[in-house]
């Protein structure tokens, strides 16, 4: 017994030992001195440790060409922000742009060149060996067909590829899964030009979209959203007005749900609606119609509202009303595009909408030709179909693939054709489906690691510069091609030489200025267009709703996912965990089913439906929603990867499988197919949605005002009813307020303090969710994965709540989106229940959360009426842990100004307190006070519609103070007496009594 050592004594011995060790090394105080500090060899000139440096470059996540500024700390890119100098995005950025960082630091990047060996497996190869192989293969394949396939690539890099292909007798082709063939063909038909114009949403007085999802995936979403919110927002500052937005389409997309009115005609009949509206406008002289439009009279005469009402399923009166509204607004802008028009008669739909624009005089004023958007110069789907058949017939001996993944978006035909090509080379930096089918992979640098430029439109050239050292052993494809074509120098030299050729005089200054600004930002002159002779040549089948061909009794619309797009976003956990703005589903795919259809089939949300078209079949869990026509099923693309890294692979189903490989008459792809739908009997216990979540209150916390009422508001009005404090509680509330007042005179709380606040204009918010991803990036928020999202354990400090909006007939008209985040209550329910004072009130009015104090009782979360507190159920930062959120090198993008939280700790929105403290520090160094506008929260910074304003509510000259006093302003759950610091400004709806077809 005496030899046994009890636990207490054991600890004592242990204590002495470690104390002894500490005494030797560091006086026994503080942490063990094991951290290493590795100095620079040479200090980079433009970097100060602990201080961020910003570099201007161009976002390459889509073809829009937004300018970005990259925040670099100690050599790591930690955040992307929009470049305010860029005329395209004006300093804003979308969720996909924010997530570009996760492409840079993706743990599944290909680190070095790989070659397929005799047994069909990839093995490493060095760069020299790889290049020798390519050189040999090029020599071998000369005259037998060499093709270099890129994505939308209007750039100096594209020019280099063209030069090289000319040199070796090959050709370059470009492919985008969501091309704009219908738009191009429709423009050719109506105006004789197959180019893509720009659209001036900001100056529109009425926006009418025929399926064009201009807020999420159509052409240039950030630019359009910024313009749209200027036109569509209700601004009490000037004579109150707003442009009405009507959406025409079979399902509500992110764009559609922002509509004031939703018209859902039979899919494929949108063009008839446009013509009927044009007919009404012409015959009733509702607008100053250009003289040459008279030649359309006979065509339009066949499309009176009466003649088409039956086919499109909208009553005559509604058509006439829409025509009147549109024409009388004096600034109507109609746009057509998106998946609803990407079918058999897509080009004609666009041509019809062009005619509608033309008769109201929008062409040349709001629709401006001359910019020739770069994405309009990609090859058509028909060209790709031709390439596919050439490959199948062995007429392509050598194929290079760069910046596109056709094996995913064309799973059947292209994948098989790839097998017939003798040698395939991929430049992908990720093991996507196409790379996996290639023989040699020469991984490219990420766009943030290399030089380049892009020409998204005439007059604008975005310059791209390396902002960090390469993360892996990749090489820029530009350099590789220069080497392969036997030239000296790097792609940087090549790029500069090309720029020098354009601008010889004083080039060095010009170059430095362009680098600092992020590019050359000019505006192309508007090119006038007239109606072409073909404008009215509608085919005979145009008057009928297309049958879509094929078997099956269901019409299935395949649409691009707003975040994952054609699937390229699927390897980024931020985008996977970002709930789709409409369905609120994350991490997997779904099929949208109308409740009437679901009732007929006995279908519940989560039941799997097998969709079988003549091209392929796929299973999707059903999401039952009123936001889709009863005779239409809709599925998003983006998921269903068979490769592309840990976040994308084997996740849900690929909707592209349902589509055919045949081009339409105008050279596009049909995204509407006929299919049969059958229940599989499988059921997903919970689909990973945050809709209906306990967090998503569903308590009607949004306020909506009809336009007429909003216009009648005067300063000081309080149009919203909220629950008064009941009589019996008044004493208690008063007592509490007095005690609070007394405490506000103590210690730090004494004297004048700022009170940080936020104003969120729901009239501007579109629900695009860019703020959510920006918040993840700024605040080191962990992504938790599908399993934990299903269990409601996602960590989004800022979430978008989507509430459907119905008219008096209970017809769905759209949605109101409400960003929900910590309200930083003045009278916070979370604070008094914390047993360890981890949740407390800061002198500047924040609800502080001290991580190192928190013991994880979760009382605060229970007591929070807004449900905006998030608990770390696991250690998401644990290396190789089951739920690791930042596997190497993803951890490199962690913001060093923000603590990475551990298991057992509660967290929530801090109002970007690190930015507040940073601005305060800077102001103090400059011997001044913080000015209004110094502090910009991450959500505010990225918001494409400028819906969020941050500032000091105690500063009577601040923007947020002004907005907080707006009569449209209200607090969520104000009756609880929580005194939130966030003021929401009610959504204004432009139509009092919309009718629905």
């Amino acid at each position: 017994m005496t030899d046994s050592i009890d636990r207490r004594r054991f600890l004592k011995v242990l204590g002495v030992t470690s104390a002894g060790a500490a005494a030797v090394s560091a006086c026994g105080i503080g942490p063990e001195p094991t951290e290493r500090l590795i100095p620079y060899l040479v200090q980079p000139e433009d970097q100060i440790p602990g201080t961020a440096t910003y570099y201007a470059t161009t976002c390459r996540e889509c073809a829009a060409g937004c300018g970005v500024r990259v925040r670099v700390r100690e050599g790591r890119a930690v955040k992307l922000e929009g470049n305010p100098d860029s005329p395209i995005n004006r300093g804003r950025l979308c969720a996909r742009g924010q997530a570009a960082l996760q492409g840079l630091y993706n743990p599944d990047r290909i680190a070095h060149p790989m070659v397929r060996n005799a047994s069909g497996k990839f093995e490493d190869i060095d760069w020299d060996g790889a290049l020798q192989r390519v050189t040999a293969k090029v020599r071998e394949a000369q005259g037998k067909g060499i093709v270099f396939l890129t994505g939308a690539e209007q750039s100096t890099f594209g020019d280099l590829v063209d030069e090289w292909m000319k040199q070796v007798g090959g050709r370059r082709m470009s492919y985008e899964a969501f091309g704009f063939e219908a738009l191009r063909a429709g423009n050719r038909m109506a105006f004789g030009t197959a180019t893509l114009p720009t659209y001036d949403f900001a100056n529109a007085k009425y926006v009418l979209s025929f399926g064009a999802d201009f807020l999420d995936t159509w052409l240039s979403p950030v630019e359009f959203q910024n313009g749209f919110s200027r036109a569509h927002a209700f601004d009490a500052g000037r004579p109150a007005s707003m442009a009405k937005f009507t959406y025409v389409g079979p399902r509500l997309s992110l764009t559609g749900m922002n509509a004031d009115e939703w018209i859902a005609p039979k899919p494929g009949s949108e063009g008839l609606l446009a013509l009927a509206m044009a007919q009404v406008i012409m015959s009733q002289h509702l607008a100053r119609v250009p003289a040459d439009a008279s030649k359309l009279v006979s065509v339009l005469a066949a499309h009176t509202p009466r003649a088409v009402a039956q086919v499109i399923g909208i009553d005559e009166a509604t058509i006439a009303r829409l025509a009147r509204e549109f024409a009388r607004s004096g600034g109507g802008l109609a746009v057509a595009g998106g998946m609803a028009t990407q079918a058999a008669n897509g080009a004609e739909i666009v041509a019809a909408v062009n005619i509608l624009n033309y008769v109201v005089g929008a062409v040349g004023t709001l629709v401006k030709f001359g910019a020739d958007l770069g994405v309009g110069a990609t090859n058509t789907f028909a060209d790709l179909a031709t390439l596919t058949s050439e490959m199948t017939n062995g007429r392509v001996a050598l194929l290079f693939v760069y910046g596109t993944n056709p094996a995913h978006s064309l799973p059947g035909a292209f994948q098989q054709a790839l097998g017939k090509v003798a040698f395939k080379v991929s430049f992908s930096s990720y093991m996507d489906e196409t790379a996996a089918a290639c023989d040699l992979i020469l991984p490219d640098h990420h766009p943030l690691e290399q030089w380049g430029d892009s020409r998204p439109r005439a007059g604008v050239i975005g310059l791209q510069q390396p902002v960090v050292q390469p993360v892996f052993g990749t090489q820029p494809t530009g350099d590789v091609i220069l080497k392969l074509s036997g030239r000296t120098g790097t792609f940087q030299d090549y790029l500069q030489a090309k720029w020098r050729a354009r601008h010889g005089a004083n080039f060095d200054q010009y170059w430095m200025d362009s680098l600092a600004k992020g590019g050359v930002y000019g505006e192309a002159p508007t090119r006038p267009v007239r109606l072409a002779t073909t404008a009215g040549n509608f085919s005979t089948t145009f008057a009928e709703v297309p049958s879509w061909g094929g078997d099956g009794d269901q019409t299935v619309v395949v649409f691009p996912h707003p975040a994952l797009h054609d699937g390229r976003g699927a390897n980024k956990p931020w985008l996977q965990e970002l709930p789709d703005p409409v369905s609120k589903i994350a991490w997997h795919s779904w099929v949208e089913v109308h409740p009437d259809t679901a009732a007929k089939w006995g279908l519940a949300t989560g039941d799997f439906l097998l969709l079988q078209s003549k091209f392929g079949g796929q299973k999707f869990p059903a999401w039952i929603t009123p936001s889709v026509r009863p005779d239409v099923l809709a599925v998003p693309t983006g998921q269903g990867h068979s490769a592309y890294g840990r976040y994308a692979k084997d996740r849900s189903a690929n909707a592209f499988e349902l589509l055919g490989g045949q081009a339409t008459v105008y050279g596009g792809r049909s995204f509407i197919v006929r299919a049969t739908a059958s229940k599989t009997g499988e059921h997903q216990r919970r689909i990973a949605t945050i809709e209906g979540n306990a967090r998503d209150l569903g308590m009607g916390t949004t306020e909506v005002l009809p336009l007429a009422r909003a216009k009648a508001l005067h300063p000081g009005d309080h149009p919203f009813h909220f629950e008064e404090t009941p009589e019996y509680a008044k004493d208690a509330v008063e007592w509490w307020a007095e005690r609070q007042h007394e405490k506000a005179e103590l210690g730090n709380y004494k004297g004048e303090q700022p009170r940080w606040g936020l104003a969120i204009d729901l009239s501007k918010c579109t629900g695009c969710s860019a703020c959510v991803t920006a918040c993840y990036a700024e605040n080191n928020i962990a992504t938790v994965g599908e399993e934990l999202t299903e269990r409601r354990r996602e960590m989004a400090w800022l979430r978008l709540e989507r509430y459907w909006r119905v008219d008096e007939h209970d017809n769905l008209q759209g949605a109101v989106n409400q960003p929900m985040l910590c309200q930083q209550c003045g009278n916070a329910p979370c604070e008094p229940v914390c047993p360890v004072y981890a949740a407390y009130h800061t002198p500047d009015g924040l609800n502080g959360q001290v991580y190192n104090r928190c013991v994880g009782t979760r009382y605060c979360s229970n007591n929070c009426p807004y449900k905006v507190r998030y608990f770390n159920w696991y250690n998401y930062a644990e290396k190789d842990g089951k739920y690791e959120a930042f596997p190497e090198p993803l951890s490199m993008l962690l913001n060093p100004d923000v603590t990475v939280r551990e298991k057992g700790v509660m967290e929530k929105c801090t109002f970007c307190v690190q930015r507040i403290r940073g601005a305060q520090n800077q102001a103090r160094l400059e011997n001044r006070n913080v000015r209004d506008g110094d502090i910009v929260t991450a959500c505010q910074q990225t918001c494409p519609s400028d819906a969020i304003v941050f500032g000091d509510l105690n500063d009577r000259n601040s923007r947020v103070f002004e907005l907080a006093g707006n009569p449209r302003g209200y607090h969520v759950l104000a009756g609880l007496n929580t005194k939130p610091a966030i003021t929401y400004l009610a959504r204004v709806v432009a139509q009092d009594t919309p009718g629905n077809g």
Binding site: S25, P31, P33, E35, P39, P49, G848, V850, V900
Partner: protein, 200 residues
């Protein structure tokens, strides 16, 4: 090779303030024959703050150049070291006599540095002052606040937390760097004690 001898303005003024003391009263760093008794962790190169900051009176912010403008003080790059040690071979300061063991030992340490520079292998310094990950300590705010309050030049404020580094042969931690120690100073100076100023 470019010799970096230009001093940042803050460092310059600091040197001028110090150079008013007469050479005779100048501190002379001791000759060390046994490093075993020294406090603080042993570093890969026996870099002596008492020689550089004490005897040679190089202002703190000549090397830790970002301390007054940024939250991080900055660990000098090897280029900063070699800027002087390209020429200065060590072992020739006042206290050392000729080709003694002590002088050779000091020269050997400079040689380590030169080797590191030549081989492009920066030394891995052992961190002496470490704060947990959930604490933010903006150096610039403290330097600004202390120098304003005490009416002293920026380089004179470092010792408040780091102790008399100028006279340390091997740097050791003298303050606990614990929260009570921080708060004590904040109370004495009647500056904020709000949690969210340091913890976020």
């Amino acid at each position: 090779m470019v010799l970096i001898l230009a001093l940042p303005p803050a460092a310059l003024s600091g040197q001028q303030a110090q150079s008013t003391s007469s050479p005779s009263s100048r501190y002379q760093a001791p000759v060390i024959s046994d490093t075993g008794d020294l406090k603080g962790p042993r570093q890969p190169i026996f870099f002596r703050h008492d020689v550089h900051a004490g005897e040679d009176q190089i202002p703190c912010m000549y090397c830790h150049y970002s301390a007054a403008v940024s939250s991080e003080p900055g660990i000098p790059s090897l280029q900063t070291c070699i800027g002087c040690h390209q020429v200065v071979g060590g072992g020739s300061r006042r206290g050392l006599k000729g080709d003694t063991t002590a002088a050779r030992a000091e020269r050997a340490q400079v040689q380590l540095l030169r080797n590191a520079w030549r081989e492009r292998q920066p030394p891995e310094w052992i961190r002496v002052h470490a704060l947990p990950g959930f604490v933010r300590f903006p150096h610039m705010r403290h330097i600004k606040g202390l120098s304003t309050r005490q009416g002293v030049e920026a380089n004179a404020t470092c010792a408040t937390c780091h102790g008399d580094v100028k006279h340390m042969t091997q740097v050791e931690q003298v303050s606990t760097l614990r929260m009570g120690w921080c708060v004590h100073c904040h109370m004495q100076n009647t500056v904020t004690r709000d949690c969210s100023v340091c913890h976020y």
